[in-house]
Amino acid sequence: MQRIPRPLVNAAPGILFALGVAAVVEALARAGLLTSYVVPPSLVVMALVDALRSGELLPQIATTLATFAEGLVVATLAGVTVGLLMGAFPIVYDALRVIVEFLRPVPAVAMIPLAILFLGLGAPMRVAVVAFAASWPLLVNTLYGVRGVDPVALEVARNFGISPARTLWAVTLPASLASISTGLRVAASIALVVTVTTELVAGTSGIGFYVAQMEGANRLGPMYAGILATGILGVLINALFFRLDRSIVFWAPQSREVVV
């Protein structure tokens, strides 16, 4: 008899439980025992399928993903660069430390009005806000990663007469990769949340905008469908970046974990 793979056996009770909860909510909602604002899960799933088929939802998902990706790219470039410089050059660290400590706790959403002012409503505004939010874990983790680089490796580079810039690129960066990878994973999760949030608050398109629209139009099924879609997206993106993190850490020379 073939053995069922372990991960499946382990996940089975959890999946059954989740389905069980959905079934209970379904029964209660249909029996009218819950407020009419709670839609039975089966109808939500149907609404989701309908919205996807009718082409109502797909462009919104595309917008969200585009904002997410662009924001994450900008955040990576900015966060890793500044983190590298701060980690490798103490003078840069001293100069920027106060600003970073002050800006970091500012919720990205507070920047939304500011971004609207300079960039208007639309994609650039959203990308800017997402980039702001997602830069911090990348910056901090890059900083820690650089700090954790084996000083012997740096000594060797110096002995060979390699310039500081080249050392940064060829020695420090690869050695900090594991830490940066963790930062990327956290940043991705933040980027998605901030994308949806920005769309909710001041969006003109995207899943968050869709959810707000449906709530305003009192189309509850599609509203929940939109929320369900964000959940699915979130799970997929988390899983993707978790895998990415794992594979980078696998061949990276150092393994130093920092949870931001």
Binding site: V98, F102, P107, G234
Partner: protein
Amino acid sequence: MRRRLGTVTVVVLLAVWEISARLMHSVYFPPASTVAVTFAHEWFSPLFAEQAVPSLFRMFAGYLIAAVLGIAIGVLIGAYRPLFRTLDPLLQFVRAIPPTAIIPVGILLVGIGDAMKVFVIAFGAFWPILINAADGARGVPRERLDTARIFGIGRPATLVTVIFPSALPGIFAGLRIGLSLAFIMIVVSEMIGSTNGLGYYILQAQRTFAIPEMYGGIVLLAILGFALNAGFVLVERRVLAWHHGEAARAT
């Protein structure tokens, strides 16, 4: 000397802001001095009590609920492996939903008002606290649990005297994430369905083109966020002094 460099940079940047703003004469970019004056005028006044304090109260209320529930349930889940395995997939899914997406649901269920905000804040902060508490409780070294059994300590007492303290570092990691999430949630929930609070103030300022006020509000948020974070670090250092000591020794 090194520490001064940070302050010097800030001063230089403020000067650059001041000078370039005066040169540019843009409505969107008021000079630092104007923002400072507006800030002092707005916030060193009853406005603070009217707008900022209620925000903070709502935030702490939601955070407290999330913390108590999250820690209690999280430690329980973490301590009982079968329970964890059963709940984990559903937890992973719900935590992936951006908590702000719940705000429209909150508005429908509870209307716009304090209850909605507290609910939404609690919902947002709950998941990271729960998951990190569970992780902390799961990571208790086998030897510690065995030691409790050897000395005849029953299950409930073990949970409180062995598992919970062992999980504290994980719990605090979750509490820290939860705090910053609560802060975000209060701002967002006040931007969406609200007529008062800091989030509403900033958004409204932008809409009515009260630009220096908008900047001032953002600065206040930055100060509050910084203060919350610093306060948390202080508390954590106290409570987890033993953990920091132990970790330092291990290196």
